[in-house]
Symmetry: C2
Subunit: 262 residues, 2 copies
């Protein structure tokens, strides 16, 4: 999915501690968001915690944060209120129905709109009188015993979950795992069989042990580097075993030298 032209804006209503604003700014930058709006924020001292917690977001997201009113946001954006506490069913429709972050991502990925993700104050979250004015409710599933996340952590999770809509390119390589060529993996199995032979492995067990090795290596999806290194390991051992057998028979075999192990 390609990022939409208009990534969501982030609104924090009456944040109490500058540190949380900094944490949110950092997470925004980590996940490709840049537009932070604050309703009645504390003072954000450039030498204080907001800037201290913001990481590289101290260079852009945080200094560009804009002070707004909730009314302006509601007039301008499709608003999603984030809360740990939902209604139980449709009789309490201030906080029901709700979407989980995954459902929100799926829903937003189908529309072209400007969305505001609205977070409440640390202690109490968003009040009902605020949530009832917003378009949708989003809630992060967490432990029933203690579902209330810290404000900055909740925001971080939501931005993470929406990253497909906002991050054009992650830091990770496109493929997080390259399985070696099957031909090379088969060669590894052959070398392993030779290695069993060379050590005079119990013949009745050979087929079973080869199968076991194939299962272990196969499900680990070995990389090219892993296969080639192990090919070397088994071939080296097999050669050495073969020579020691030949020597025992009195054949003329060059003596091992330390270089052999290279």
């Amino acid at each position: 999915m390609s990022p939409r032209q208009q990534p969501p804006v982030v609104v924090v209503v009456e944040p109490e501690t500058p540190g949380n604003v900094g944490t949110i700014a950092r997470a925004m930058k980590n996940f490709g968001l840049s537009d932070l709006k604050l309703v009645d924020p504390p003072e954000l001292d450039p030498d204080g915690e907001a800037y201290g917690f913001a990481g590289h977001a101290r260079e852009d997201v945080l200094p560009n944060a804009e002070e707004v009113t909730l009314d302006e946001i509601i007039d301008t954006y499709h608003t999603v209120g984030c809360t740990a506490i939902t209604g139980e069913d449709s009789r309490r429709h201030v906080r029901f129905p709700f979407k989980t972050p995954v459902e929100l991502r799926e829903s937003l990925s189908t529309v072209d709109t400007r969305t505001a993700l609205v977070f409440g104050r640390e202690g109490r979250g968003l009040h009902n009188r605020e949530i009832e004015r917003l378009d949708e409710v989003c809630s992060i599933p967490a432990s029933g015993e203690y579902p209330v996340l810290n404000l900055g952590q909740a925001a971080t999770i939501l931005f993470y979950e929406l990253r497909e809509l906002t991050v054009a390119e992650t830091q990770l390589p496109d493929v997080d795992h390259y399985r070696a060529e099957e031909r090379d993996i088969e060669r590894l199995y052959d070398y392993f069989a030779d290695f069993l032979d060379a050590q005079a492995y119990n013949e009745r067990k050979t087929a079973k042990t080869r199968r076991l090795f194939r299962r272990l290596v196969g499900r680990a999806h070995p990389t090219d580097r892993e296969v080639h290194t192990l090919l070397g390991v088994f071939r080296g051992a097999t050669d050495r075993l073969d020579r020691s057998v030949a020597r025992a028979k009195g054949d003329d075999v060059p003596t091992d030298t330390p270089e052999d192990r290279e």
Copy 2:
């Protein structure tokens, strides 16, 4: 998926700031984890930031945290090192292959083992000489421009993503949305049609407008409460329109009273 008997333990290597330890403890409790182990931690003063940031985890996760060595962890657990920076391909196999949090969850859900999620110090993360001793590498996909998350935020995302393995019951109702009975939704469409009739809506447009209403309501998955409230709204309007037509014809119709609107 039901939670496994043995949830992962969480290991933080040389955390520098007590606040981050508190943040991690809180996120653990939010997502059903309880076993926190610290390698060479700072002092955790019960009146300091660790306890201040821990929320309810100050009651159990944090005071029960155990000081350990990385050697003990490696000897005892299946270890997963968490890092923002991976290798590019298998030539750099200290940090490659890696798993994303989703892949780690899928992989752990298939095995019965005791896993340790290992996080590094704030500034530099885990050193290569530490990661190379661990079993697997996990990395959170983030913005290529600024992929380095704060320690506490990275841990929070990983715990969130693994919640299916660790949280028996979330705070959310089992169903986050109940679509009303189709019979009632159909009734709403009928009432809407009556309402169009009652207002003498342009007949040529009626079918199209009814279809439009069905599409809008249908894809919003209306709840029972929503359908019944709207049924009342349209029926009330239709009744009132019918009466005003009858009155205009000179029929004997009772006058509107405020109670009619109830």
